[in-house]
Symmetry: C2
Subunit: 285 residues, 2 copies
Amino acid sequence: MKIPKYSREITAFQGEKGAFSQEAVRLLLGPRAEALPCQRFEQVFERLQRKEAGAAVIPIENTLAGSVHENYDHLLRFGFPIVAETRVRIVHNLIAPPGVPFRKIRRVFSHPVALNQCLTFFAKHPEIERVPFYDTAGSVKMIMEERLTDAAGIASALSAGIYGASILKRSIEDDRQNFTRFFLLRRRGWRPARRPEAPKGWKTTLVFTTRNVPGALFRALSAFALRDLNLNKIESRPLRGKPWEYLFYLDFMGRPDEESSRNALKHLGELADFLRILGCYPAAG
Amino acid sequence: MKIPKYSREITAFQGEKGAFSQEAVRLLLGPRAEALPCQRFEQVFERLQRKEAGAAVIPIENTLAGSVHENYDHLLRFGFPIVAETRVRIVHNLIAPPGVPFRKIRRVFSHPVALNQCLTFFAKHPEIERVPFYDTAGSVKMIMEERLTDAAGIASALSAGIYGASILKRSIEDDRQNFTRFFLLRRRGWRPARRPEAPKGWKTTLVFTTRNVPGALFRALSAFALRDLNLNKIESRPLRGKPWEYLFYLDFMGRPDEESSRNALKHLGELADFLRILGCYPAAG
């Protein structure tokens, strides 16, 4: 495939145009970044690998639903460095074609996770049927294409703008403490035009396995605790081919070229069977 | 709802009859246990709560796909004690109506996870289309009901027997190291007729939160490491209402009425904001 000249500006993301991931693309790369929708997470990684995109944006965890475990697996397999993170507050809006009033709405389409995050709204409106759909923004796209007059979608405000739909009700989510954290990925060897600033410090994400002995994880964490390095997150994933053993993904505050972090990583390297740094980037908060 | 006399013998599980969860029911409760299929995991818990079942069997982790995170959330919310665990090797079989030969198969239905675990088979047979379906055993049920003559399902050997279908090819999964671990749950206050034996020792599952300070998880794990108690697994889940804080689910070898475990739990209680024991049961291996 011919690589277009502007490929470095194209950013792959999963979902339809208007997905929350596209909001993350804007936050990470500015309003002029060209967002390239992909159906599946794996395709987002493949686009970056085949140089059809110069960057990729993936969700890694949500404060209600938890980690996007599939993306942890892809991070390890593809090995693209994480160069930035951001957080998007998930605001669910009820969106219908222009001119369709709220009282006409009988069906609401959206991704099952989004439907489940708006239970208060549905309890208040028992006459409205919930219809699971493959994507949040995709539900708005479909409703506009089909020109449905009794249906709405639940999606981002951005998707209403993109498909020319109207927001009937804003922020119908049950829990406003609903945030998704996203990573910006580049290909190996990519260098920023200028060194980014990190007013809230640097964060490093790594993956390791321990020997399968008592206290192994405790000793691994001691590499950080004994140096007062703060862990933000730890996530376990099954280790293929070794049933009941695990990979650990860990975020800590620090950067590998600082002395205490360097020593911690050296210490962890002595204890771990396997260790790889997935990225170092300015912390979002 | 009237509670049938034999309700204590009924065991709720998720999936259609013949699902791998039903194999777990057999392993945990013997061949005479009556398995009650439920569509969703939450319904499995609700059946036990409403006394429509006397026991529930849920998958908690798979050695390829990882934890069933939704069930960790339900364990905490419903509070049913875990009283046993078992492991089922996931063997995927190609199953069709009797008399349909392999060379006629053009479509294969199954749960997307099962389809993805048989990629070698599909690579060898590019003429066969993969069709995602809601359930493994459900795909066999549907093929038999519809009497399809060009289609097969991928499911357990048990499901072939239940629906009167034939196994065309056995064990077509890519990776034989594919196991699912299941928990047996009872209502609070349930007591076994006789104390179970634990030839491989006792395992305890608990959930806790730490104060959000550097080294908190390290100190929590020290309660076990300093007493040479072996951790089998740790899993993090988001803490609702506190973005970027986590609940930790932990399995360790020991039982709370033994001295070292009792001391470890007391120690962990000092360090944790919240601590609950979810169950203590004979380890499966």
